[in-house]
């Protein structure tokens, strides 16, 4: 059965390591924060200028001056730091942030990503996504495997304007987990109950299927 959003977030959380600084994008990536293993310390960076982001505030304790990059009210943890937007992207470009998790509209089998624009239709802007993907040493994209028309979002070539080129290292969809390799998307884990055949059918880009593809443990 395909993964739901929380299961995707939970699987991504297993990629976290002790001491990591992590930037979580808007949407599913935000949910990763709910699943950080209790035995490790992970520090969340929010690109509007916050290191050490805590959970949402209790009702009545919201502070309009304290938000994350998704404009949500958040809190500070002991030992957090505030800085301006230039310093925030300084630490991103200098690869001090160990892992970036973000959503996408399309990914191509050479690691290109498109996530910010549908020409003539949707023009919200790229926010910090272009900076993050061009800089991060480790990027995980999480998204649904297909769009609402059932078309694959794992492509030979992105059809939408790019956010970054050759930058995506790993992808998690509702159907499985993939590494971007010179040969294309390498299937490393499939969602529980999802067949290799279904994934093959729903992947337009080059897909590499190793002999033994384990089922994902959530």
């Amino acid at each position: 059965m395909a993964l739901d959003k929380n299961q995707i977030a939970k699987r991504i959380a297993r990629e976290l390591q002790d001491g990591y600084y992590v930037n979580l994008g808007i949407g599913i990536p935000t949910l990763v924060a709910n699943h950080i293993p209790p035995d490790i310390t992970v520090t969340l960076q929010s690109e509007n200028g916050l290191l050490g982001m805590g959970p949402f505030p209790f009702e009545g304790e919201e502070d309009a001056d304290l938000i994350n990059a998704g404009k949500q009210t958040v809190t500070l943890l002991p030992g957090s730091a505030i800085f301006d937007s230039a310093t925030s992207f300084a630490m991103i470009r200098a690869q001090k942030v160990n892992l970036t998790v973000l959503g996408a509209m399309e990914v191509s089998d050479n690691g290109d990503i498109a996530s910010w624009k549908i020409p003539g239709k949707m023009v919200k802007g790229m926010g910090g996504a272009m900076d993050l993907v061009a800089s991060a040493q480790n990027i995980i994209v999480c998204m649904m495997h297909t769009n609402k028309h059932g078309d694959s979002k794992l492509l030979k070539k992105c059809s939408l304007p790019l956010t970054g080129v050759g930058c995506v290292k790993r992808i998690i969809t509702d159907l499985g987990m993939f590494e971007v390799t010179p040969e294309g998307f390498k299937l490393t884990e499939r969602a529980p109950g999802v067949s290799v055949e279904e994934i093959q059918k729903k992947t337009e880009g080059r897909l590499v299927v190793p002999d033994d593809v384990k089922e994902m443990v959530i």
């Binding site: 502070d63 505030i82 301006d84 937007s85 790229m126 272009m130 061009a134 304007p161």
Partner: protein, 232 residues
Amino acid sequence: MDKRVTDADAALKGLKDGMTLMVGGFGLCGIPENLIAALARSGVKDLTCISNNAGVDDFGLGLLLKSKQIKKMIASYVGENAEFERQMLSGELEVDLVPQGNLAERCRAGGAGIPAFFTPAGYGTEVAEGKETREFDGKMYVMERWLRADYSLVKAWKGDTNGNLVYNRTARNFNPLMAMAGTITIAEVEHLVEPGEIDPDHVHTPGIFVHRIFQGKNYEKRIEQRTVRQRA
């Protein structure tokens, strides 16, 4: 050097049609509410506004979009504003979308006398079209130019009459960078104090960058996404 002016309207003296403005804030967090309201009142038009976002339909820079005072917008994310999207898609509004980190660094560069620098963000995408690219140490970069403004409008939590500013929490965001890059920088603050009341080590924006300062009033500080958790 006492830089205080009476209010937002007085602070905007000399601001004319067609000028380029930087406006601090991230979403509605840390925006100069009083100055934006005064801009709307002033009727000044054909503005080029540099700001990370464009407000929402009825607040922040959205107010100036509604009144069609903005000719061109330079921003990184404008998804919160339907009127913006309408004006952009219809061609009424010129828009230059810039990666957020590049935007921040370009403002800082403007305030740091650095006319151009190389950045990885946007390489291989349409934002790099027509721009010089270059390889350094095996990685590709795009050359970006500084941004400067005729007027920079910023919001701080506290300021002294010398212009030294202190920001509160993530309301800091672009404000210190834009403060650096204005030919005239105007700061509105929630608390205007006398020189000596801010520890010199706690100053975020040294007063040399600020030309006019006043204490704002009636702060609405609207929250865009009120997210809370339940008490156990």
